[in-house]
């Protein structure tokens, strides 16, 4: 997958995360039940270049948020490696080295109501990373930094005295962004940052994120289920299904020349605002449980192009048109690439 763009900034290799959701030992023994393991993330490889926005899309339960949490270290991986700017995050680092690495990556969460401490004033919320990493010389410097951050996210310096409940959802998400920026990170993991917001506020936050990226040269890992938002903000897009990456491609390619049948299905589900009369093809079936994922290609029960090989053998990613796709039908040439055009919404 390295495409000659130079050193990769963030590299995930063979990343896996399983969760044990078994009943307690005694219950299992008495009722002779087996262990139950959720394969939330089942071996994914992603490389993110500096300054780009890499998006992960997929339906709920596909493991995209787990990837986000793995990347920032909120979960330890079951297997696989996470490299950040050439440093293996799992390797032994001294406390100060680790803090230095952690400072360079931050996360923005989905729910701005749950991710801000309701008992802290906004000033303290934003000042916490600065204090924690010891980035300010003195009180006056801290004050100045927090005020600058508030201005950068288009809030007033005076807003620092307020509590989170005094803000609307969009303003709270601005506070989350200011907090994430406080430690001057280079890499931001954004887990559905606009899903809880109304569309007009979503536009404000997306514009703000684009502005900040340009100003500070930030790299984003953007998690979303909204394909239109992803189309708008990303450089490259990875499509996840049941813990695996089924397709990775540059944004334009993914949307105009989708390869994997699941990607095509997802694109079909985007509501048609242009009133072209295009019918959303309602796909049959739902995402199966990640406890007992289907054999072979996990998408085969819903895939109109599945054959016996798809049921038995797990497809490996193959390189195609600047991206990768994991699909037997594409590999065998059974499934021609589809061209799609979109009418601009005037």
């Amino acid at each position: 997958m390295p495409d000659g763009t130079g050193a990769q900034f963030v590299r995930l290799a063979g990343l896996k995360r399983y969760f044990d959701v078994s009943a307690p030992w005694l219950v299992r023994t008495i009722e002779r039940r087996p262990r139950q393991i959720v394969q939330a993330v089942d071996g994914i490889d992603i490389e993110i270049a500096k300054g780009e926005t890499f998006s992960l899309v997929g339906e709920s339960g596909c493991g995209k948020s787990t990837v986000a949490r793995l990347v920032v270290g909120l979960y330890p991986p079951t297997a696989g490696t996470i490299e950040f700017d050439g440093n293996d995050m799992a390797a032994r680092h001294s406390r100060s080295d680790m803090a230095a690495l952690r400072r360079r990556m931050q996360m923005i969460f989905q729910d701005p109501y749950a991710s801000l401490n309701p008992r802290w004033r906004v000033f303290d919320i934003i000042a916490e990373p600065i204090r924690a990493f010891g980035l300010s010389k003195d009180k006056a410097d801290l004050q100045k930094r927090v005020e600058d951050l508030l201005r950068q996210v288009k809030l007033m310096p005076a807003d620092g005295r307020k509590f989170p409940h005094e803000f609307s959802g969009g303003q709270r998400q601005r506070v989350s962004i200011a907090r994430a920026l406080a430690s001057q990170p280079e890499f931001l993991v954004c887990d559905e940052p606009t899903s809880a917001l109304d569309v007009s506020v979503q536009a404000q936050i997306l514009n703000l994120m684009v502005d900040l990226q340009r100003r500070f040269g930030l790299t984003y890992l953007f998690i979303s289920h909204n394909l239109a938002v992803v189309y708008h903000i990303s450089t490259r897009v990875g499509v996840m299904y049941l813990g695996r990456l089924v397709e990775v491609a540059p944004t334009e390619t993914l949307f105009t020349r989708p390869k994997h049948p699941y990607t095509r299905m997802l694109l079909d589900t985007i509501p048609d605002l242009d009133m072209t009369g295009r019918q959303r093809s309602p796909v049959a079936g739902e995402v199966p449980s990640p406890i007992n994922p289907p054999s072979g290609c996990t998408f085969h029960p819903r895939c109109p192009f599945a054959n016996d090989r798809c049921k038995a053998e797990r497809p490996m990613p193959i390189s195609i048109e600047g991206g990768t796709v994991a699909c037997h039908a594409i590999e065998e040439g059974r499934l021609p690439v589809e061209e799609r055009t979109y009418v601009a919404n005037s």
Binding site: D198, V199, F255, T269, P271, R280, Y342, V343
Partner: protein
């Protein structure tokens, strides 16, 4: 009330809402959450109601089905279903209408189903409440309904409990429940918001098909313009408790007349053009306690004039739609366009 309404006299509207006001008395004064809202729905028609959170769209829906949560109350106006006033009915009377004449679908299918009863029992109970059927006949009807909403293996699934269904399947059960007594109107409040995109398309297709087949009218309350564009015949855009614009869905989506609708449509990322920045409406919808005088949208409006600051616009004819904006006032002088940037 306006001559532009297409509904003619030989086809009386199924639902008429006139000057509806919903208010919430609080310690610090009475909040007007729905302010002078009027619209009607023809038989078999799908009316979409969109707006951002707090615009009053769900409250309007709840007022119609008589499920306003106290202390919220209808403070004025009237609601007529098939010509009969339903907003002032006693609770027990309204109970008979709700379910039988008006069905309701809510956002979260898990909370609208009783977790302790099997779905079959819930369906049978609802059917027997509204229709004079024996237990066996009600069960047959329940089974037919489950088949109709596309639940595979309905014969065995009928005795399952809500937690044994996935989100999409649960929402199908809720739709079956709403259809039990063959209502004339369904009030669907964010029916697809809690669902995944691929399931969303299934549910929308189902709702559309059922309404076509049964001739049921739908009031579809959602914040998702995409869902409206695909499903609705007409759409009402709400802002700060009032209707900002109402008209045929194609015209509202493609040729919005109200500056708020224009901004709203522009802020939806669309496929096709990758613009650097999305159109954004600065600021946020005012809280109910601080609704500005004049047009409620004026602090955020890019085309506001002097008149917008003092006088509140009512719905005016604007092309094929009606918009509550002085820009479309043909009687007087149009609002003088004042270009100024509005700070949040």
């Amino acid at each position: 009330m306006a001559p532009s309404d297409k509904i003619s006299t030989n086809n009386p509207p199924l639902l008429e809402v006139k000057n509806l006001r919903v208010e919430f008395p609080t310690r610090r004064g009475t909040l007007l959450a729905v302010d002078d809202v009027s619209f009607d729905i023809a038989p078999g028609e799908v009316l979409g109601v969109v707006g951002e959170s707090g615009a009053g769209k769900s409250l309007t829906g709840n007022a119609i089905i008589g499920l306003l949560e106290p202390p919220g109350r209808i403070a004025g106006g009237e609601i007529r279903l098939e010509g009969r006033r339903i907003d002032n009915l006693p609770y027990e009377e309204m109970r008979k209408i709700r379910g039988a004449r008006i069905g309701a679908i809510f956002q979260d299918p898990l909370t609208s189903l009783n977790p302790l009863y099997s779905v079959g029992r819930q369906l049978v109970e609802t059917i027997q409440t509204h229709l004079p059927l024996s237990a066996a006949a009600a069960r047959t009807r329940a089974l037919d309904l489950l088949k109709e909403v596309g639940i595979p293996g309905a014969e065995s699934r009928i005795d399952h409990y809500p937690h044994q269904f996935s989100g999409g399947m649960r929402q199908r059960v809720v739709i079956a429940l709403a259809l039990c007594a063959g209502p004339r109107l369904i009030v669907a409040d964010e029916p697809t918001t809690a669902l995944d995109v691929s399931i969303q398309a299934q549910i929308i297709a189902l709702l559309k098909r059922l309404c076509r087949e049964h001739g049921t009218a739908v009031m579809l309350v959602t914040h998702d313009m995409g869902v409206i564009a695909e499903t609705a015949d007409r759409v009402a855009v709400m802002y700060a408790g009032r209707i900002a614009e109402i008209g045929p869905v194609r015209d509202v989506v493609k040729h919005a007349k109200h500056p708020y609708t224009k901004g709203l449509m522009g802020s939806i990322p669309s496929l096709g053009v990758r613009t650097e920045r999305l159109t954004q409406i600065d600021g946020a919808m005012p809280r109910l306690t601080e609704i500005p005088t004049g047009c409620a949208f004026n602090p955020r409006c890019t085309e506001r004039g002097q008149r917008c600051m003092v006088e509140r616009p009512d719905l005016m004819v604007a092309g094929t739609s009606r918009a509550a904006c002085w820009l479309h006032d043909r009687g007087g002088v149009g609002a003088p366009v004042l270009k100024e940037t509005v700070d949040a």
